[in-house]
C-alpha cells in the first residue's frame, strides 16, 4: 500500500486450526494473496508445537534455517517483512511445559519476562517493530481486578518492555473484549501503571467496540500511548456482559450461549459495522500516527475473500493506493 500510514495484514486469519496452514506452499499462497492485494508486511501470532510453524522463533528457524532464511521465504512471495507479532503469555504452550501463568501473579513475573525473550530476539533479528501482547487473561477465569492487581500487571509489562527496548523492539499491550481489563477506566489504569517509554497500547477497533469503548474517542484521549493498531469491524457490542460467561472464548465468541452470536469480527465496510473506520483512520492521520496499522479479519470466513474486501475498502473508501 502506498500511503502515509503503514499498512500490514495479520496472518492469524489463515491459521484457524492446529492442523491447517502448515505446509509452506499454503503459507506461500497466503503471502502472495496479501502481496497481490497491496500488503507488503505481515503480523505473526505466537503459537505452539510442530504444526504452528510460524508461531515460535525456534520452529520458524527449524523451517527456514535462520531469521534471514525466514525473511527470504517472505520475500520470495514479494512480502517485505514482519510488522509485529502477537503473544499471550497466559496461553499455556508445550515449549513452556504447559505452564499456566498470570501477569497478576508476581510469582510468575520472572518466567513471563524470560519467556518473552525469544520473541523479542526474533523480532529484532527480522527487523519487526512491535511485540503485541495480551496484558491479562480472560475475566471469567479470575476474580475482579483490585488496585494492586493492576499495579502488578504494570510491573511485569514494564519489565518486558525494558527487555524489548534494549533489543530495539516496542511492546504494545492489546486490549481484547474478554480481558479482565475490561472497562475504559481499567484500561486507563493499566496504561497509567506502565511506563510510557517502555509500554504502548495496541488499539484494536473491534475489540474495544465490543467491550463498550469507543475506539475513536479513546484514541483521541490517549493517542500518545497508541503504538500499534489492529483495524477490523464488528456488528455487535457485548451489551449483556457475555464476556463474564464461563468459557467465554466459546460461549461468547463462538455463540455457544448467550445471544448465540457465532461471528463477532468482520471485514472493513461490513453492513451494520459499528466501528467508524473512516473517523478512526482520519484521527490516526491527524495525529501523525507513526506505527503499523494491521488489518485483521480474525477467523471471520474465507481468508482470501476477506483480505480482498479489506483491500477494496482501503483503496476505495480510504483512498489508499494498492501499488
Amino acid at each position: 500500500m502506498r500511503d502515509t500510514l503503514r499498512w500490514a495484514y495479520a496472518l492469524n486469519q489463515w491459521n484457524i486450526r492446529m492442523d491447517v496452514f502448515v505446509r509452506h506452499e499454503d503459507q506461500r499462497r497466503a503471502l502472495k494473496t496479501l502481496s497481490a492485494l497491496g500488503f507488503g508486511h505481515i503480523e505473526l501470532a505466537a503459537g505452539t508445537g510442530r504444526w504452528d510453524n510460524l508461531g515460535r522463533p525456534e520452529v520458524i528457524e527449524i523451517n527456514h534455517g535462520s531469521p534471514e532464511g525466514f525473511l527470504a521465504f517472505l520475500r520470495s512471495c514479494s512480502v517485505n517483512g514482519v510488522s509485529s507479532m502477537f503473544w499471550d503469555p497466559g496461553q499455556p504452550v508445550e515449549e513452556e511445559g504447559w505452564a499456566f501463568r498470570s501477569t497478576r501473579n508476581r510469582d510468575d513475573h520472572a518466567a513471563i519476562v524470560e519467556s518473552a525473550k525469544p520473541f523479542v530476539d526474533f523480532l529484532a533479528a527480522i527487523g519487526a517493530e512491535q511485540l503485541v501482547a495480551r496484558p491479562v487473561g480472560s475475566a471469567w477465569m479470575q476474580p475482579p481486578l483490585g488496585r494492586d492487581d493492576i499495579a502488578a500487571i504494570g510491573e511485569v509489562w514494564n519489565s518486558v518492555g525494558k527487555v524489548a527496548a534494549a533489543a530495539g523492539v516496542g511492546l504494545a499491550l492489546h486490549y481484547d473484549c474478554l480481558s479482565a481489563v475490561h472497562t475504559a477506566d481499567e484500561l486507563r489504569r493499566l496504561l497509567d501503571a506502565t511506563d510510557p517509554e517502555l509500554v504502548g497500547l495496541a488499539l484494536d477497533t473491534a475489540e474495544l467496540t465490543i467491550g463498550g469503548i469507543d475506539p475513536v474517542a479513546f484514541y483521541e484521549e490517549r493517542h500518545e500511548r497508541v503504538t500499534h493498531v489492529h483495524l477490523k469491524d464488528t456488528r455487535y457490542a457485548d451489551t449483556g456482559e457475555e464476556y463474564r460467561m464461563p468459557g467465554a472464548e466459546t460461549t461468547m465468541l463462538r455463540g455457544g450461549a448467550g445471544r448465540r452470536i457465532e461471528r463477532w469480527f468482520f471485514e472493513l465496510g461490513t453492513e451494520g459495522g459499528l466501528v467508524d473506520v473512516k473517523a478512526f483512520v482520519a484521527a490516526l492521520r491527524r495525529h501523525g500516527y507513526p506505527g503499523w496499522v494491521v488489518v485483521e479479519s480474525d477467523h471471520g470466513g474465507n481468508p482470501a475473500e476477506l483480505a480482498m474486501l479489506n483491500s477494496w475498502y482501503l483503496q476505495q473508501e480510504l483512498s489508499v493506493a494498492r501499488t
Binding site: 499462497r29 502472495k32 502481496s35 514479494s78 483480505a307 480482498m308 474486501l309 477494496w312 483503496q315 476505495q316
Partner: protein
C-alpha cells in the same frame, strides 16, 4: 508500463448460508465479488450468457451492472461466453438443422448487451467430442458455416465472434483447428486462445497464437498439470469432471507442475504488438479444497511479479531493436 487490460472470467464459487454458490446467489454477494476483483486491479469483466438475466434481475439492467463495475474501477464488460457443450436435438453446431435456433439464441444474447461496448462474443464452436465423432472434414465445415453466420451477425452489433476450443470438443487437434480456420471467414470468425485447453489437447498455445495472431482477440490465462494422453477427451458424458484418471484439469497460473509457459507467451504477445484484453480464468478452482478467491489472488501475484517482468524484457528487446 504494466499491462492494464486484464479482465476476469466469471467462474467464482463462494461460501453462502446455503453452501458454496456462485456470487449471483444474491445482490450482496455479487457486490462483494466485484469489490474483491476490483481490489486486485482487474479492469475488464467477462461472464456467461446465462448470467445476464440474473444480472438484470439484481441490478435492474446489464447497463446498470456495468455502471457498478465502473464505480469500482472496472472499465467495462469485455466478453460474453456462449456455449452448447452438450448436443441435443435442438442445438448441435455440427447439425445444420439446429443452426437457425443457435443463431436466434446468439441474437438474443447480443440484444441483452446492446448499447454496451462488449468486444468479444466467445463461443465453443462444438459440443463434446463423443457426440460428434467421427469428426470429419464435412462436420468441421458445417460448424464453420454456423459460426460464419453468427460472426457476421455479431459484428453488425459491434462484437467479434471468437472461438474458444475445449480439449474435449470436436475441434481439438492442430489439424482440426487449422481446417476449421480455413473454413471460417477471417472477417467474421476469430481465435480465442485458452492456454490450458490447448495444452491438454497436445496443442502448443504459443504456436497457435503465433500462427493465428491476426485473428486472435483474447486469451484465457489458465494452467494445467496434465496432457491428455489416454483419450480422456472421449469420455462420455463429460471428460471435464468424469475423466477416469484426472480429477482436476485446470489450475491458476503459478502452481508447481504447471505446463504452460506463460512468460514466453507474454513475451510473444508484447513482441507481436497485440494490445487487446488478457483474461484470467479459473475453472473448478474449488476441486481439492481450493478457493476461487485465493486462486485469483495467486494468479494476480503471478501477473504482477512474473508476467510483468516478462513484459518488461520483451519491451526492452523491442526498444533495443528500434
Amino acid at each position: 508500463m504494466a499491462w492494464t487490460k486484464w479482465s476476469y472470467m466469471d467462474h467464482w464459487v463462494t461460501e453462502t448460508p446455503q453452501g458454496p454458490q456462485p456470487p449471483s446467489f444474491n445482490r450482496a454477494y455479487m457486490d462483494r465479488y466485484i469489490k474483491q476483483l476490483s481490489a486486485l486491479g482487474f479492469k475488464g469483466f467477462d461472464t456467461f450468457f446465462f448470467y445476464l438475466p440474473m444480472i438484470e434481475g439484481m441490478y435492474g439492467s446489464v447497463k446498470a451492472f456495468e455502471h457498478f463495475l465502473q464505480d469500482n474501477g472496472f472499465e467495462k464488460i469485455t466478453g460474453i461466453f456462449s456455449a452448447y457443450p452438450y448436443a441435443t436435438k435442438y442445438t448441435a453446431p455440427h447439425v445444420p438443422e439446429t443452426h437457425d435456433r443457435i443463431v436466434a439464441d446468439c441474437m438474443a444474447t447480443v440484444r441483452a448487451v446492446e448499447g454496451l461496448s462488449v468486444e468479444n462474443f466467445i463461443v465453443m464452436p462444438s459440443t463434446t467430442y463423443f457426440q460428434v465423432e467421427p469428426v470429419t472434414d464435412e462436420k468441421i465445415k458445417i460448424m464453420a458455416d454456423l459460426w460464419n453466420r453468427v460472426g457476421q451477425m455479431t459484428l453488425e452489433h459491434g462484437m467479434r465472434t471468437t472461438c474458444h476450443f475445449e480439449f474435449w470438443g470436436a475441434i481439438r487437434t492442430r489439424e482440426q483447428l487449422d481446417l476449421f480456420f480455413r473454413y471460417t471467414d477471417p472477417r467474421y470468425v476469430y481465435f480465442f486462445c485458452d492456454t490450458a485447453q490447448h495444452t491438454i489437447a497436445g496443442v502448443d498455445p504459443l504456436q497457435m497464437f503465433r500462427d493465428y495472431r491476426d485473428r486472435c482477440t483474447g486469451f484465457h490465462f489458465k494452467d494445467t498439470h496434465t496432457v491428455d494422453e489416454h483419450e480422456a477427451y472421449r469420455t462420455p458424458p463429460d471428460p471435464e469432471l468424469m475423466a477416469p484418471n484426472v480429477t482436476r484439469w485446470f489450475y491458476e497460473m503459478g502452481t508447481e507442475g504447471g505446463l504452460v509457459d506463460f512468460p514466453a507467451l507474454m513475451r510473444e504477445i508484447v513482441t507481436s504488438g497485440y494490445d487487446g484484453w488478457l483474461t484470467v480464468e479459473h475453472d473448478k478452482a474449488e476441486l481439492g479444497g481450493g478457493s476461487y478467491a485465493e486462486a485469483t489472488c495467486v494468479a494476480k501475484w503471478y501477473i504482477d511479479n512474473v508476467l510483468a517482468e516478462a513484459q518488461a524484457e520483451a519491451e526492452a528487446q523491442l526498444e533495443a531493436g528500434r
